[in-house]
């Protein structure tokens, strides 16, 4: 590899928790191979670098950009557009950039409600705000005008903002899969543009628990029962999202008796993770009586959106709560 001229790589962090930045290190010692193959031209989390440095690059000069995080501010949108222009290959890295992720759940509310909660109602996050101040995009100060990024009403995925070449799913993506993507880039063996780099099956495929035909009479919260270690968690009434979640993690959570929460997103070809999961579960609830079914759902799934769209609300067909203008 070393004979080849070095490629250029960039990393960026938008609306996300930062776990993706650390996940990159999951490739372990291979990080050195990455460093050998690429010059890292931009990685605000790890190296010093300024936006203007990127602005100065020629269009398409960056070979690969791994972009994590959703788009919820004007600054993130600007960076997404900029990096798109400067990169040959733009990869949505992790759930937040692929499907909105946890930040996407903010689409159940809007800027005003969020600001009210943070700056007014919640004394823990903002104890003293007697004048009911809110962040402003522009603030006049004696020294001149100060700007803060605009906080949008709606969280968007990366591909709702700019064109994306590939997706690396996961919250955060798994080391093996990151390495597989990097290898594919190095060897020039990338799949068709628009593809998700990952498995085409779901977590059940990697889960060792024993499955039988499913009939569910009651859903339990995780603290309510001590699951049997060998039987399918869903069959025990724990709402395991493994049935609908793209494989690739090795069924880490079910392995330790914890139901899958769906961080790897929908499987190949599935348009809407939550809708898939809902129709699958609806088909195995063991009752014909509408009232009983309602009760089973109410009792066992108190937070349906948070359960079915924990990572994918922004990307889903629903996208957001209806705005009352």
């Amino acid at each position: 590899m070393s004979e080849k001229p070095k490629g250029k790589m960039a990393f960026y962090w938008a609306a996300s928790c930062g776990g993706c930045e650390i996940a990159v290190l999951q490739v372990d010692a291979k990080i050195l191979d990455i460093a050998a193959a690429f010059d890292i031209v931009f990685w605000p989390c790890a190296t010093d670098g300024k936006t203007r440095d990127v602005e100065k690059l020629a269009d398409g000069e960056i070979d690969v950009c791994l972009f994590n995080g959703a788009i919820r501010t004007s600054e993130q949108e600007y960076m997404a557009r900029l990096l798109r222009k400067k990169s040959k290959v733009l990869i949505a890295f992790g759930s937040c950039s692929q499907e909105g992720g946890i930040p996407g759940l903010a689409n159940l509310s809007n800027r005003k409600e969020i600001f009210d909660t943070v700056y007014k109602e919640n004394s823990a996050t903002f104890p003293e705000n007697p004048d009911d101040l809110r962040p402003q995009h522009e603030t006049e100060m004696p020294e001149g005008t100060l700007y803060l990024p605009v906080f949008y009403d709606t969280v968007k995925t990366l591909d709702q903002t700019v064109e994306v070449d590939y997706y690396l799913p996961g919250c955060p993506p798994e080391g093996d899969n990151i390495w597989a993507a990097v290898t594919a880039i190095l060897e020039g063996k990338l799949p068709d543009p628009g593809s998700v780099i990952g498995a085409h099956s779901t977590v059940c495929d990697e889960c060792k628990r024993i499955r039988t035909e499913k009939k569910i009479k009651k859903f339990y919260r995780t603290w309510e029962i001590k699951p049997d270690p060998d039987t399918c968690l869903l069959e025990q009434g724990l709402l395991c999202c493994g049935i609908a979640t793209r494989a690739g993690c090795g069924a880490l959570c079910p392995e330790v008796n914890s139901p899958c929460i769906g961080c790897q997103g929908a499987n190949e070809g599935v348009q809407d993770f939550g809708a898939r999961l809902i129709s699958a579960l609806a088909s195995v609830i063991d009752s014909e009586d509408p009232e009983e079914i309602d009760q089973i759902i109410k009792d066992g799934i108190p937070d349906p959106i948070g359960t079915f769209y924990r990572f994918s609300l922004a990307k889903s067909l629903l996208r957001r709560k209806k705005q009352t203008v």
Binding site: G269, R276, A280, A282
Partner: protein, 672 residues
């Protein structure tokens, strides 16, 4: 002949359907709109697309204009999809590259506003055009058919169908759950409107079933399970222990004579409980097979383990009485199935105001059928429970029928059998007979004439619903069983009260209580009233949703014996058409599981209404059995991994169709 793959050339044909469509939709404007859609090579409108010249037009265009996709904007695909697929096939095009836009039922027939109609028709056409461009050529597969038919239910329907099939030289397995075949018809003395004797018609047919070598008759038997699909069903039949060997018994009845019960003591179910029988009995004299049966509930040996077993001794060397007989299971392979499970008579004890079960002289029509029957419990004498002959009799029509509290439908045969019973009771007793009816329904062949005849015989007719039946108050401290009838006479416009000493309730016909189990076992559906649903009332009246399963008799809907027999022959013909051909073509639009990516989560495993999904324990994947799959899409929607594809209903095709529907909201779709 087919144009290169990259060039999609769609032909759009807008049908006028006489004036059915063109009276509401501007068909020329619609064709003009179609011409502007992407990939549309030509669009025409024509008076009747399904007519020969209409079909010819499409064929010619496929050849001359090198069309490789066809859209026909006309009626429901249920009606003519097969037609236009055949047209495409005749012209050398894969038949699945055709799509219909239903602008008749879904547009022209639901509005008379030409502006709305045109707008909606455009949406349908745009949807069909976008969809058809995503169609893939598909191939039909064919399976071999086992040349044997299972008939379930040995009433007149099942008997007739079996005999017709046997006559054609086909093997039939006839399964009847009662100890004898014959069904309801065997309970009647005479049948309307001809008053010919039921036994004279039925008994020869029953005997023919017994003697016919092509028919394997299994009475006192029930279907245990059905597996497989059209052409090749595996059926397990439970032969319930009758404690008398059908093979060894010669029908001498010595066992019955010698039973330790010297007199009949237990109500005979077949006589509606009006007559008595011993634990070992023949349900009725002409029963087929002519072999007695032992009822384990009342037989001392079988229920208490203690009896001299005179029956065994009476049978002697023949050894046909087998008190230790057990149920056995037999397995059969059949290519087609005819379901002829009949009906149950409505039980009027749920209507307290008619006093059935409380007032001794209130009878159901079925009980009276037994009373007037020469082979019945009274030897054909019409007498009340106390042995007296009734002098005034009322027949109450529509009991349980045309009543929103019970069945809203008309049972169709009750008016006619009420006339028949009026005639028979009058003939036997010379009583005054009153028929209280809501409407007199006599629409069959010879029915009105029969009504006139019974009127001429002096039977009274009162148009009105009977509201209440109560005992006449005691006279001189003595309580008789006479009853007062209260009826709202709608012709006189007043409530009438009169006394009678016998009430006959003309009970309706309702689905068998186990209809839902039977429906599930044979992969059928039920209509709202609970009878088995035919595939289409006009186009496929004896077919069901399950391709190899056909319907005959009242289990499909209420009807009289002539209609039952006609339908049974129709079902036999359909079954014959299937098995005689030897092969059956399977529709390719089934579900397919991508086994490489199936996670084996097993969500889909018990969802298929046709049991078409199996689970491979070894490979830990699920699989669709194409012979059984109907392409309903249930599993496609449920698979959380999205690895089940509905062939001919792929996501791509469905989304394309939706986008087409929304053409006016997505203007860029129209860019050619």
């Amino acid at each position: 002949m087919i144009a290169p793959k990259d060039e999609t050339r769609i032909g759009v044909y807008v049908c006028h359907c006489g004036t059915n469509i063109s009276a509401v939709i501007d068909v020329e404007a619609l064709a003009e709109f179609a011409r502007g859609l992407p990939q549309v090579a030509l669009a025409r409108d024509y008076k009747y697309m399904c007519s020969d010249p209409g079909q010819e037009l499409i064929k010619q265009d496929i050849v001359d204009k090198k069309l490789n996709r066809i859209v026909v904007a006309a009626c429901s695909p249920l009606l003519h999809e097969a037609t236009f697929r055949r047209v495409a096939e005749d012209a050398g095009l894969n038949p699945f590259l055709v799509q219909m836009a239903n602008i008749r039922e879904q547009v022209a027939w639901v509005t008379d506003d030409p502006v709305d109609a045109l707008a909606k028709a455009k949406a349908h056409v745009a949807a069909a055009v976008r969809r058809v461009s995503k169609h893939e050529p598909l191939e039909r597969r064919s399976v071999d058919v086992t040349p044997r038919v299972l008939v379930v239910g040995g009433g007149i329907a099942g008997i007739q169908a079996s005999l017709t099939l046997a006559e054609a030289g086909k093997e039939v397995i006839l399964v009847e759950r009662e100890p004898s075949i014959g069904g309801h018809m065997s309970m009647f003395d005479k049948t309307f409107p001809t008053l010919d004797c039921a036994a004279c018609i039925l008994t020869p047919k029953m005997t023919a079933v017994k003697d016919e070598r092509n028919i394997r008759l299994l009475t006192y038997s029930e279907i245990e399970s059905v597996e497989g699909a059209v052409g090749n069903y595996k059926v397990k039949v439970r032969r319930k222990a009758r404690y008398i060997s059908e093979e060894k018994c010669v029908g001498c009845m010595a066992c019955i004579d010698q039973c330790v019960f010297t007199k009949p003591k237990f109500p005979n179910e077949y006589d509606q409980g009006l007559g008595l029988r011993k634990p070992v009995y023949m349900p009725f004299p002409q029963a087929v097979p002519p072999v007695p049966i032992i009822d384990p509930e009342t037989c001392l040996q079988l229920s208490k383990g203690k009896c001299k077993q005179n029956c065994v001794e009476a049978c002697g060397e023949r050894g046909a009485v087998l008190l230790d007989q057990e149920d056995t299971i037999e397995e059969f392979e059949v290519g087609a199935i005819i379901v002829a499970t009949g009906f149950k008579a409505f039980d009027p004890s749920v209507m307290p105001y008619y006093g059935y079960g409380r007032l001794p002289n209130v009878y159901t029509s079925l009980e009276v059928e037994r009373l007037v029957n020469a082979a019945g419990p009274t030897g054909g004498k019409l007498v009340l429970r106390d042995g007296s002959v009734p002098k005034r009799v009322v027949i109450v029509h529509c009991v349980g029928s045309r009543d929103k509290n019970y069945h809203t439908y008309c049972s169709r045969v009750c008016c006619m059998y009420s006339l028949k019973l009026a005639h028979l009771v009058k003939e036997k007793t010379d009583a005054e007979i009153y028929n209280c009816y809501i409407d007199m329904r006599t629409s069959g062949k010879g029915f009105e004439e029969f009504y006139n005849r019974v009127q001429d015989e002096g039977v009274h007719f009162i148009r009105g619903k009977v509201g209440d039946i109560s005992l006449v108050p005691p006279e001189n401290g003595e309580q008789s069983n006479r009853m007062t009838i209260q009826v709202d006479d709608t012709l006189l416009g007043k409530v009438r009260n009169f006394d009678v000493d016998m009430v006959i309730l003309a009970v309706g016909l309702e689905p068998q209580p186990d209809t839902d189990d039977v429906r599930r076992m044979f992969g059928m559906s039920c209509s709202t009233e609970g009878f088995f649903l035919e595939k289409h009332p006009k186009l496929a009246p004896v077919n069901t949703a399950n391709d190899g399963v056909f319907l005959a008799g009242v289990c499909q809907g209420v009807k009289d014996i002539p209609d039952t027999v006609a339908q049974a022959d129709a079902a036999a013909a359909k079954a014959l058409a299937l098995i005689d051909r030897g092969t059956f073509e399977l529709e390719p639009n089934t579900a397919v599981i991508d086994e490489d990516n199936c996670s084996g989560c097993r969500i889909c495993n018990n969802l298929c209404p046709y049991d078409a999904i199996e689970y491979d324990e070894e490979k830990e994947v699920s699989r669709v059995i194409p012979e059984l799959c109907k392409g309903c899409g249930t599993c496609v929607a449920a698979c959380p991994a999205g690895v089940i594809t509905g062939v001919h209903f792929t996501n791509d095709q469905i989304f394309a169709e939706i986008e087409g529907m929304l053409f006016d909201a997505m203007p860029d779709l129209l860019a050619v």
